[in-house]
């Protein structure tokens, strides 16, 4: 290497030496692109059409409509895409939507059967299910769901795990010193903050959960934010009291112990059963609920890793230097300690995505927590259970799950090797 040494480049070079991992990595990139473009690859709406003198790009527009940014033009609101005649039209590669019912080819049409289609262009390459839905389209759109599950749940995992792990490792049981008055007052402040954050807004939260799970979690998050704000304000008001020497005396908050207890609680409840219980309670379960719950259950591993790394990093000279410079704890943690703690986090994140996809597909296979509009590999697979001859319904989604899970695991393995300092050459 002629240019400056950088850790990232070094890791990438180590990673590239691992053949299976690098192949898996490129495959994941390809699948991510498929997931992103699934509306364009497989859709019951044309890519491009000229209809009543106007030009539209319905398949691409669907992204914006789903995101709530635009609406369908009035011409296209109640249109049956397949039957309409266009002046000019270009259909996607797979001209079927994942939920579109092809009544001419329902009741499990095999890919090798003679299908009732206009031409080979309209052939169902992976067959159909009982209601005539195209399996290939379902598998492609399922990729999107799988990646969403992996990304959303692992982001939550990382967010909670890194914060709690860093705090537990950095402060330990003795180094988070707060004044006596603050320690005792917070026993009163916590219920008060809880009151303003959650109790006052309890109907806003439960009504939002009744509307949709996303709204519910958004309200919960907002409530949690309010909780923190109220807590911060109350603690700020204590500031003059700290000057009284008796009240201002420092006591250590055993934050490491507390976080470890929380980890123990989360670890001891089997995730699948907790998710089942919560999904049963929630008014409108959807795949989003499952993602969030997997994230909320899965952070313990990352927190432990970060904590262990933090214990190691904390003793290093540059941390002492940061202290000597008088940097705030926040700055020391975020800018100096954390970047050196993230090695195991990448590995855990890769394995975490694999695990999340596996858990979600198990749940949707059992029919737990999937709304009818969710397209997932697990629910595709479960549709094949009722017909033993429909091997295309059993094999393809299963293989898709297997491949994605294997690839993420392989990348995790590759990262483990690449980031392991013992392998340095």
């Amino acid at each position: 290497m002629s240019d400056k040494f950088s850790y990232r480049k070094y890791v990438w070079q180590q990673f590239k030496k691992n053949r299976p991992a690098i192949v898996a990595y490129y495959f994941i990139v390809v699948m991510a692109v498929v997931a992103l473009l699934s509306n364009i690859i497989a859709n019951d709406k044309p890519l491009y059409c000229q209809y009543k003198g106007n030009t539209y790009f319905p398949a691409a527009r669907e992204y914006l409509v789903d995101a709530g940014l635009v609406q369908w033009p009035s011409d296209l609101v109640n249109i049956s895409w397949k039957i309409e005649s266009y002046d000019a039209v270009l259909w996607p590669l797979i001209p079927y939507g994942p939920r579109e019912l092809d009544f001419m080819n329902d009741r499990y049409k095999s890919p090798f059967d003679v299908q009732d289609v206009a031409s080979q262009r309209w052939h169902h390459w992976l067959g159909t299910d009982e209601q005539g839905r195209d399996v290939l389209s379902g598998v492609i759109h399922g990729t999107q769901t799988a990646f969403m599950v992996g990304i959303v749940s692992v982001s939550i995992t990382l967010f909670i795990g890194i914060i709690l792990g860093a705090i537990a490792g950095f402060y330990g049981d003795h180094e988070l010193q707060i004044s006596r008055v603050r320690f005792w007052s917070n026993f009163i402040f916590l219920p008060i903050a809880f009151f303003y954050g959650f109790q006052v807004r309890s109907y806003a939260i439960s009504d939002a959960f009744g509307a949709s799970a996303f709204d519910g979690f958004a309200q919960m998050f907002f409530s949690f934010f309010l909780f923190l704000v109220v807590l911060a304000i109350l603690n700020f008001l204590l500031w003059p009291l700290k000057k009284i020497s008796f009240l201002g005396k420092k006591v250590a908050l055993p934050i490491d112990l507390l976080i470890n207890r929380v980890i123990e609680v989360v670890v001891s409840v089997p995730g699948l059963i907790l998710i089942m219980a919560v999904v049963a309670v929630i008014a409108k379960p959807s795949i989003f609920v499952v993602m969030v719950l997997i994230g909320l259950m899965g952070w313990t591993g990352i927190a432990r890793f970060v904590r262990a790394e933090m214990l190691r990093v904390k003793k290093m000279e540059f941390m002492e230097a940061a202290k000597a410079f008088g940097y705030s704890d926040f700055r020391s943690i975020v800018k100096h300690a954390l970047p050196n703690c993230l090695t195991p986090v990448f590995i855990a994140a890769a394995f975490g995505i694999a695990g999340a996809i596996l858990t979600e597909s198990t749940l949707s296979f059992l029919g737990i927590g999937v709304a009818p509009e969710d397209v997932t590999w697990g629910s595709l697979l479960s549709a094949g259970r009722s017909n033993q001859h429909a091997h295309w319904l059993i094999l393809t989604p299963g293989i898709a799950i297997f491949i994605v899970v294997t690839f993420f695991n392989l990348v995790g393995e590759g990262l483990t090797d690449a980031l392991d300092p013992r392998q340095k050459k």
Binding site: F195, L381, G384, V405, T406
Partner: protein, 472 residues
């Protein structure tokens, strides 16, 4: 040592309490009115039953389920909220009143409105109406009872005028008019004199120990987990009926998993870097990534099917004839258990043998192993006598950590192979929303997992004399 174990057990208690609180919170927020669900499931002719008798029965059942008690030892609530609201029997009515309070913040006015409504309902039920006007009378009662579940002012207003209309149609006396105007009056007072500020003023109530949580917890300590919503049985009997197969499968799969993984991990560590190691690694990796529900579906489809390979029975644990002797029975059980057991166990192979491999590699780099080589011991002795002992230590702790995954696996595998175990019970309960069963299984599996961790920690401390748990 004893001190460490005691300390470990002491730590176990608060964790358990937190888990019980979590479960209790979920169960309190579960939708539906448990009293009504249980009553509807138990009485076949719920509709014809006399209204008053039904109300009476409702109260009794509510008392039996301890639902007439405050929820928790204390409550943090708004000044506007009533601390006696829990005394109102019907859950849905109670929730609606709470919503009204949340809106207007004046419990005193809300309760007046509620009482006047009750009064009017009672009055309307005893009206003497000629046969030709029966339809109107029924409609009147219908609308009146709907009012209990409305919290939106405009809708209430609308319903009230509807009630008045029906009263006119019936041609009720002026007495009725004054009754309904009382309701209207109290409603208007409630709406026009709100004290919303009270909603933002927190208060704490202390209820003592006669609370739902307290009784729920103390009953659970003696093994009473409540009644199933849909089967008129205690949850604990249902669980005891089903725990056998799951327990058997768990024990068997732990034994098999370790019996297979330890030698495999050892082997791949001994032959590190060779083709054998690579092959084992890849094979285990593939097994690890295969979703067990898919494998189970494939097995059921292709190995239990007369059109493909009819090698194994489709479902259940046994189907021997009555006169079968012991050997036949055992074989029959074993035949049924092959496929599910494989599905249970294969994914833990990868996990355990990788840990074993890592720990073995670590041990092999130790000085005392070099010494063993130096004094000319045979490889067999070095590996299987000296190295294995120390590399087994970290593996012990894994017993506890594969336990949760076994429980999760049991849900899928048991419901696919229709094995009458806990996992299938959990799945069935999930489908029909039998909350007491779901929550009990959740709680019990958490307790079992915790006990697993406890035991493995203590075991670890016992087997490894190097670890000192006394205070530094």
């Amino acid at each position: 040592m004893l001190q460490y174990i005691l300390k470990r057990i002491l730590v176990f208690v608060p964790t358990l309490l937190v888990i019980s609180l979590l479960t209790f919170t979920l169960s309190v927020h579960s939708p539906g009115d448990p009293v009504e669900i249980i009553m509807n499931a138990s009485s076949e002719s719920g509709q014809d039953a006399d209204k008053i008798a039904k109300k009476d029965e409702y109260q009794k059942m509510r008392h039996k389920l301890n639902l007439d008690l405050p929820v928790f030892y204390f409550s943090v609530s708004a000044l506007s909220e009533s601390d006696t609201l829990y005394k109102i029997p019907e859950k849905l009515q109670r929730e609606n009143l709470a919503r009204l309070v949340d809106h207007y913040g004046n419990w005193d006015k809300v309760s007046v409105y509620y009482q006047s409504l009750q009064h009017f309902e009672n009055y309307a039920a005893h009206l003497k109406v000629s046969d030709s006007l029966q339809d109107h009378w029924i409609a009147l009662q219908q609308i009146t009872s709907e009012l209990y579940f409305k919290s939106d002012a405009a809708i209430i207003e609308n319903r009230l005028s509807e009630v008045e209309k029906q009263l006119l149609l019936i041609g009720a006396s002026t007495g009725a008019g004054s009754e309904i105007s009382k309701v209207k009056q109290s409603f208007h007072t409630m709406v026009t004199q709100p004290t919303a500020w009270k909603n933002y003023f927190p208060t704490v109530h202390w209820y003592g120990f006669e609370t739902q949580y307290h009784l729920w917890l103390s009953k659970m300590l003696v093994g009473d987990f409540g009644l199933s919503y849909y089967k008129q049985q205690p949850v604990i009997t249902m669980i005891l009926e089903r725990i056998g197969p799951t327990f058997m499968f768990s024990i068997l799969s732990i034994i098999i998993a370790f019996a297979v993984s330890i030698p495999v991990g050892m082997n791949s560590a001994i032959h590190k870097g060779t083709k054998k190691d690579t092959f084992i690694t890849i094979l285990l990796f593939v097994l690890y990534s295969l979703p067990s529900f898919w494998i189970a579906t494939l097995f059921i489809n292709y190995f239990t099917n007369s059109e493909y390979l009819d090698w194994f029975p489709v479902k259940g644990l046994q189907n021997y004839a009555d006169g079968a002797d012991f050997v036949e029975r055992t074989l029959n059980y074993a035949h049924h258990m092959v496929l599910p057991l494989f599905c249970y166990v294969y994914s833990s192979f990868a996990f355990i043998s990788r840990q074993m491999r890592g720990s073995m590699l670590q041990t092999l780099s130790q000085d005392y192993i070099r010494t063993a080589w130096a004094k000319g011991l045979a490889p067999k002795q070095v590996y299987w006598k000296h190295a294995i002992r120390n590399s087994l230590l970290p593996i012990i702790t894994l017993v506890a950590s594969i336990f949760p995954s076994l429980i999760a696996g049991s849900i899928v595998i048991e419901s696919l192979f229709t094995l009458p175990g806990l996992g299938m019970l959990a799945y069935e309960a999930e489908v029909i929303k039998d909350f007491p069963v779901i929550f009990t299984i959740m709680l019990l599996s958490a307790v079992f997992t915790l006990i697993g961790y406890l035991v493995s920690d203590i075991l670890y401390a016992l087997v490894d004399p190097r670890i000192s748990y006394s205070k530094k």
